[in-house]
């Protein structure tokens, strides 16, 4: 992945596949970083991430890991890890890159914005080139850019003042999870105890989102895009005055994209998905044979 290389981050992937299958996959997907073969799941076991919900007798499925990613620093110490509970909900490469660089990169797709010179509010989809696929998590970012001196509020907040709220709705099949908020700073005002909790400058609310199968119905061409309704309510104040609380309704159009899927067991690529160009059936048979032999050994 060129962006990882360009940022000095080495990339490695490990699975229980044979070297030959990994070579075919790397060629089909144009992958240049190492795909490491752990055919008896020895490393997977040593790490303690063997999937134990699958029974040992379930050949060839037994032996896979709980899938996830570790991010390590220059000394090889883990600085972050991503292990979603659902197999389809993997982190996108962009999220891993963001974590590695400690920053949120701008989305490649245009966002929508509202506001003025005091407070600008923008919403954009970050990751995957601004497209949504069935499964990989993306981040919907609501970015507030405040004029110097202004702040907006987090909870808890006294009666009569408006805390910042963001809600996102989309069509059936679209999921928005709990947002990650940056930490607030305390604002002490004479006569007010406890202090207020505020954000200033550029404030990013990061909402993990994903699409399930409803947006990609089997055997049909999916829609080319969906619309998300992002409602943002906030109140901006400086040390002397407060602006009138505002509600912005942003409509964000997100293109849907297909994925590369194995052509296997009659599951072939449908709709916008494309089949990975390798003989998955042959490698699956080899995997089956190898796992059966190890089990009987």
């Amino acid at each position: 992945m060129p962006r990882f290389e360009a940022n000095g981050i080495k990339l490695y992937a490990v699975s229980y596949d044979d070297r030959e299958a990994l070579a075919a996959y790397a060629e089909a997907r144009g992958i240049g970083f190492p795909l490491l073969s752990d055919p008896h799941s020895a490393v997977i076991r040593r790490y303690g991430i063997l999937n134990t919900l699958i029974d040992e007798s379930d050949v060839p499925f037994f032996g896979i890991p709980n899938p996830g990613t570790y991010l390590v620093d220059e000394a090889g110490v883990i600085i972050d890890k991503f292990f979603p509970r659902h197999i389809a909900l993997r982190e996108s490469a962009d999220s891993v890159l963001d974590a590695a660089l400690g920053e949120l990169l701008r989305g490649e797709a245009p966002g929508v914005g509202a506001g003025d010179g005091e407070v600008r509010v923008e919403a954009f989809l970050h990751g995957g080139g601004g497209t949504l696929k069935a499964g990989p998590m993306r981040r919907l970012v609501v970015r507030f850019t405040l004029r110097e001196g202004l702040h907006i509020y987090g909870e808890p907040i006294p009666d009569g003042m408006v805390a910042t709220q963001v809600s996102v709705t989309g069509p059936s099949g679209f999921h928005a999870l709990k947002p990650t908020l940056p930490p607030t700073e305390p604002l002490e005002l004479p006569g007010l105890d406890p202090p207020l909790h505020v954000w200033s400058g550029t404030v990013d609310w990061v909402i993990p989102v994903y699409a399930d199968s409803d947006l990609f119905p089997a055997g049909e061409e999916a829609q080319s895009e969906i619309q998300l309704d992002v409602t943002v309510r906030y109140q901006a104040c400086d040390d002397n005055t407060c602006l009138v609380p505002r509600t912005e309704h942003l409509k964000l159009k997100i293109p849907l994209a297909g994925m590369e899927v194995p052509s296997l067991m009659g599951m072939g690529a449908v709709g916008q998905n494309r089949a990975v160009e390798m003989d998955s059936a042959k490698y699956f048979a080899q995997l089956n044979e190898r796992q059966t032999r190890s089990r009987n050994a």
């Binding site: 000095g8 981050i9 080495k10 990339l11 490695y12 992937a13 490990v14 699975s15 596949d17 070297r19 299958a21 990994l22 070579a23 996959y25 992958i31 190492p34 795909l35 490491l36 073969s37 997977i44 790490y47 303690g48 991430i49 063997l50 999937n51 919900l53 029974d55 499925f61 896979i64 890991p65 709980n66 899938p67 996830g68 990613t69 570790y70 991010l71 390590v72 220059e74 090889g76 110490v77 883990i78 890890k81 292990f83 659902h86 909900l89 993997r90 891993v96 590695a100 069935a134 099949g173 999921h175 399930d212 409803d214 089997a218 194995p262 067991m265 009659g266 599951m267 998955s280 995997l287």
Partner: protein, 74 residues
Amino acid sequence: MSQDERRDAFGFVGPLPASHRLRQIPGPDLATGPEIGERLPDFDLVDHTGRRVSLHADRGNSKAAVVFFRSAVW
């Protein structure tokens, strides 16, 4: 089999019923291996080109992302 039988708790539809043993979703006690703050355990594996790779030696002084995935085949 209806679409509903094939849809799991997260909303994904698969070729097998959601209740099938191969479609079980781990609970919150999902084992995720070494923790943040620990050194990533070293390993020695052959990559897809046949090159032997010792993780920390190969990584040198660079940051790295190590991805454990299900399979390139299925």
